[in-house]
C-alpha cells in the first residue's frame, strides 16, 4: 500500500508523463479512451462551430443595420438566421460545457480514473463529428430556411431547402447528447472515490447530474419529432396537415417537449460552473449547499412541465396556456434560489476579481435580467404582445449568451491552467471580459425596447423609426465579436509562451486541484480518500496554501 507521504512537485517541467504527452500519434488521440483527450477534441470542434455561428450572427446584424432588406434577400436572410440558430443551439450550446468541462472535470472532481464508460464517451464524440459534418454539408449545399424550430407544415410541405440533410445531422447529434448524459449519470453513481458522499460533491457535479437527466429523457423526443417530420416530408401523409385532419400543433408539442428542457441543458451546466466560481473566488463555503444542489434537480424536473409557453399564440387551448403559464412562474423559483444563495456566498467572502470571477459575477447580473424578462413572456397577457418580437430574442440571448456563454468562458478561464498547465495573460483576459460584457449589453438591451415597440423577429426589414436602436445593437455586436475572438488569441498564446501554472494556481481545496496540471492520464497518482466537505477552505480539507504557492501539492489524502 502506498503511503501518502509523497508530496510531489507536480509541475509540468518534470519529465513525468501527463495526459497530453502520453502518446503523441494521431491514432493515440482519435482512438483514445481518456476523457481528458476527448474533452480537448470536443473543445476544438465546439470552438469551430461557435465561430461559424458567430459569422452568421455578424451577417444578421449587418443586414439589420438598415431598415430595408438590402444586404440579403428575405429568402437568404431566412437561411442565415436558421443556420445561426442551429449551429449555436445544437452544435455549440448543448455540448459546450458538458462535453468539454464536464468530460474533463467530472472524474477529477469525484476522484475517479475515468468516466464509467470511456468507449461510449468516444462514441459520443464520433457521433458528434458525423452529425456536424452532415449539418455542414447541408449548410454548404444551400442550407435550411425554416428557422431552427423546423415548424410544420412549412418544413414538411413547403420549404425548398435541405431540411432532410440538416435534420438528419441534428437527429444524429441527439444520440451524442444522450450517451454523454447516460455516461455522466452512471459515473456519478458508481465511480465516486471513498468518502465522496453525495453531499460532498462539488455543485458542478450536481448540475451535471441534473443536466444528464434532461439529456437522457428529453432528447429522444426531439429525435422522434425530426423523424416524423422527415417521413412526412417524404411521404406526404398529412399527419401535420390540417386539411387532412392532421394537427401542426402536435408537431409543436413534440418539438418543444424537448426543446424547452434543452434550454435547461444549456443553462444548468453554466449554473454549475458559476457555483464553483462564486464559492471558490470568495474563498468561502457556498451558502445553502443543499438548496443549490436540489434546485438543479428541481430545474431539470420542472423544466419538463413548461414547454407550452412557446405555444401560447399557436392555437393550443387557453386552459393549457393557463397551466403552462403558472408552471413557468414556478420554474423560475429554483433559479432564484440559486441567485440568492450565490449572493449570500459573496457576502463577507474574500473576493478576488480574477477573470473567472468577473465572468461569474457577469452571469449573475445578466442571467437575472434574462430570467426576469422570461417572466414577462410567461404572463399570458403580455406574451400576446411580445411573442415573435425582438423582446423574445433579447430574452433568450440574455440567458443563453449572458448566461451560458459567459459561464462557459468563465469555466474555460478558470480551469485552463488545470487543462493545459499554463496561465494566460490576466491583462488581456480582463480586457476581453470587459469587451464581452459591454458589447453584449449594447447588442441585446436595445432589443428589449425594439421588441416592445413591435419589431418582429426573423424579419430582414423593419420600420425606419427603429433604425437607431438597431444601429446600437450592431455596434454592440461588433464589440462583442472582438471580445469573443480575443480569447482564441491569448489562450493559444499561453500554450506556447504562458507561465507554468503549477498544480493549484488559485489555491483551492477542490479535488481537481490536488493533482498535477496537466493531470496524468490516470488522473491521480494516489487515488484520493475524501474526508472533507465541498468548498472547505480550512485545515481539515488538507489544503496546504503555502505548499500550493510553491508549486507543491499535497496529494488528496489526509494522513
Amino acid at each position: 500500500m502506498e503511503t501518502a507521504a509523497a508530496i510531489h512537485t507536480g509541475s509540468n517541467s518534470s519529465p513525468k508523463l501527463n495526459y497530453l504527452t502520453n502518446g503523441s500519434t494521431l491514432r493515440s488521440w482519435l482512438l483514445t479512451k481518456d476523457h481528458k483527450r476527448i474533452a480537448i477534441m470536443y473543445l476544438i470542434t465546439v470552438s469551430v462551430f461557435f465561430l461559424m455561428g458567430g459569422l452568421y450572427a455578424a451577417t444578421i446584424r449587418l443586414e439589420l443595420l438598415t431598415p430595408a432588406s438590402d444586404l440579403l434577400q428575405t429568402a437568404t436572410y431566412n437561411k442565415v438566421f436558421t443556420q445561426h440558430g442551429i449551429l449555436m443551439i445544437f452544435f455549440f450550446l448543448i455540448p459546450s460545457i458538458p462535453a468539454i468541462l464536464g468530460n474533463f472535470l467530472l472524474p477529477l472532481m469525484i476522484g475517479a480514473k475515468d468516466l464509467a464508460l470511456p468507449r461510449i464517451n468516444l462514441l459520443s464524440l464520433y457521433i458528434y463529428w458525423i452529425a456536424g459534418i452532415l449539418a455542414l454539408i447541408g449548410l454548404m449545399e444551400g442550407g435550411v430556411d425554416t428557422g431552427w424550430t423546423f415548424y410544420a407544415p412549412y418544413s414538411t410541405t413547403f420549404s425548398n431547402s435541405y431540411v432532410m440533410l440538416v435534420g438528419l445531422g441534428i437527429f444524429i447529434n441527439g444520440f451524442s447528447s444522450i450517451l454523454t448524459g447516460l455516461n455522466f449519470i452512471v459515473t456519478i453513481h458508481t465511480m465516486r472515490a471513498p468518502g465522496m458522499t453525495w453531499f460532498r460533491l462539488p455543485l458542478f457535479v450536481w448540475a451535471h447530474y441534473a443536466v444528464s437527466l434532461v439529456m437522457v429523457l428529453g432528447t429522444p423526443v426531439v429525435a422522434i419529432t425530426i423523424l416524423l417530420m422527415a417521413v412526412e416530408r417524404v411521404a406526404h401523409v398529412g399527419i401535420f396537415d390540417p386539411a387532412i385532419g392532421g394537427d401542426p400543433i402536435l408537431y409543436q408539442h413534440l418539438f418543444w417537449f424537448y426543446s424547452h428542457p434543452a434550454v435547461y441543458i444549456m443553462v444548468l451546466p453554466g449554473m454549475g460552473v458559476v457555483s464553483e466560481l462564486i464559492a471558490n473566488f470568495s474563498r468561502k463555503r457556498i451558502f445553502g449547499y443543499e438548496f443549490v444542489a436540489f434546485s438543479s434537480i428541481a430545474i431539470a424536473v420542472f423544466g419538463f412541465l413548461v414547454w407550452g409557453h412557446h405555444m401560447f399564440v399557436s392555437g393550443q387551448s387557453v386552459y393549457a396556456g393557463l397551466v403552462f403559464s403558472f408552471l413557468t412562474m414556478v420554474v423560475a423559483v429554483p433559479s432564484a434560489i440559486k441567485m440568492f444563495n450565490w449572493t449570500a456566498t459573496l457576502y463577507k467572502g474574500s473576493i478576488s476579481f480574477d477573470t473567472p470571477m468577473l465572468y461569474g459575477l457577469a452571469f449573475m447580473g445578466l442571467f437575472l435580467i434574462g430570467g426576469l424578462t422570461g417572466l414577462f413572456l410567461g404572463a399570458i397577457g403580455l406574451t400576446v404582445h411580445l411573442t415573435d418580437t425582438y423582446f423574445v430574442v433579447a430574452h433568450f440571448h440574455y440567458v443563453m449568451v449572458g448566461g451560458q456563454v459567459i459561464a462557459y468562458l468563465g469555466g474555460i478561464h478558470y480551469w485552463w491552467p488545470k487543462i493545459t498547465g499554463k496561465m494566460y495573460s490576466e491583462f488581456w483576459s480582463k480586457v476581453s471580459a470587459m469587451l464581452v460584457f459591454v458589447g453584449f449589453n449594447l447588442t441585446f438591451f436595445p432589443q428589449f425596447i425594439l421588441g416592445y415597440l413591435g419589431m418582429p423577429r426573423r424579419y430582414a426589414a423593419y420600420p425606419e423609426e427603429l433604425q437607431v436602436l438597431n444601429i446600437f445593437s450592431t455596434a454592440g455586436a461588433s464589440v462583442l465579436g472582438v471580445g469573443l475572438v480575443m480569447p482564441v488569441g491569448y489562450l493559444i498564446h499561453s500554450l506556447f509562451f504562458g507561465k507554468e501554472a503549477g498544480d493549484n494556481p488559485w489555491l483551492l481545496p477542490g479535488l481537481e486541484w490536488r493533482t498535477s496540471s496537466p493531470p496524468p492520464t490516470e488522473n491521480f497518482e494516489v487515488m484520493p480518500v475524501v474526508t472533507w466537505e465541498a468548498y472547505d477552505f480550512g485545515e481539515e480539507s488538507g489544503l496546504d496554501i503555502e505548499g500550493a504557492r510553491q508549486g507543491e501539492t499535497r496529494p488528496a489524502t489526509v494522513v
Binding site: M1, E2, T3, A4, K33, A112, K113, D114, L115, A116, L117, P118, I120, I178, G181, L182, N183, I185, V186, T187, H189, T190, M191, P194, V216, L217, G218, T219, P220, V221, A223, I224, T225, L228, V231, A235, H236, V237, G238, I239, I244, G245, G246, D247, L250, H253, L254, F257, V526, M527, V529, T557
Partner: protein
Amino acid sequence: MSTHTHDHSHHRGLQHQFDNMGQQEESVSIGMWLFLAQEIMFFGGMFTAYLVYRSRFPMAFAAGSNHLDVVMGFVNTLVLIVSSLTMALTVYYAQKSNRTMQVVMIVLTMIFGATFLGVKAVEYTDKYNHGLVPVSGLNKRIPADEHAAPGGHDAKPEPGSPAVAEEHSNPRGEFQWHEYEIIEHTIAKQKADPNGHYLTAAEKVGYMSDPATLTLDKDKFRDKVRIFYFIYFMMTGLHALHMIIGLGLMLWLGWKAFKGTFNADYYMPVEMSGLYWHFVDIVWIFLFPLLYLLGRHFLHELGK
C-alpha cells in the same frame, strides 16, 4: 488509502477504469437501464401522436384497426413472449455456465425473432396488396381494366368474406379505403340521439361534408383512416427496426457464447442483451392491443 486490490480485479473482463467487477456490473446495468429509459421516451413520442389522433378520430381508428389481421397480431404476440422466455433462459444458463444450453436458447430466441419479422413481412405485403400503405405510390398498382371490382367507393364486401378480399383498381398505387359500415352506423346513432356522445367534436367536423346535417364525406373519412395507417406503419416499423437490431445483437451474443465467453463469473453482456430484448417485447405488448384490438368491440354491434 487507495482501494485494496481484490482477486476479482484481475478478472479478464475487468475494464481499466473500474476497481472490481461489482463496480463494473453495477455501472453497465445502470447504463443499460438509462438507455432503455431513453428508448421508452423515443417510442413515447409516437404513442403521444397515437393518443392525440385516436382521441380526436376514434371511429376512423376503429375502422382502420379492424382491417388489420388480428390473428397474425395475436400469433406475433405469443411468438415474442416465447422469445422472451428463451432469452431469460439464456441468461439463466449463462449464470449456470452451461455453454450448450446458452447457445441453444440464443438460437431459439433468434428463430422466434425471425418468425416475428416474417409474419410482419406477410402483414406488410398484404397491406401493400390492398392499398393500405398510407403513402401515395407505395401500394400495388392495379390497372383499371384488370380485376376491377364494380364501382369504387361504394363496393361492399360480400357478407361472410374477409373485409378486403376483392381488389379495386388502383392505377397509381394510392391509399384506398372502402369500408364505411362502422362510421355510418355511428352517425346513425348520433342522429338518433343528438345529445349522445357517439362522435367527438373533431369527428363531427372532420368526417362530414356538411357538419350541420352530419353528411358523411367518404374522402375525408378515408383521410383519417390513413392517419391511423401511418401511425400503424411508423410504430410497427420502428419496432421491427429495433427487432432487427436485436437479432444482430443475438448474432454477436451467440458467437461469443459459442466461444465460451460467458459463465457464472462473467455474464453481464448476456443479461444486458436480455434487457434490450425484453424491452422490445414490452413495446409490442402495448402495440398489440392499441393497434389491433381497439375497434373489435364495435363489430359486435354490427352483428359480426
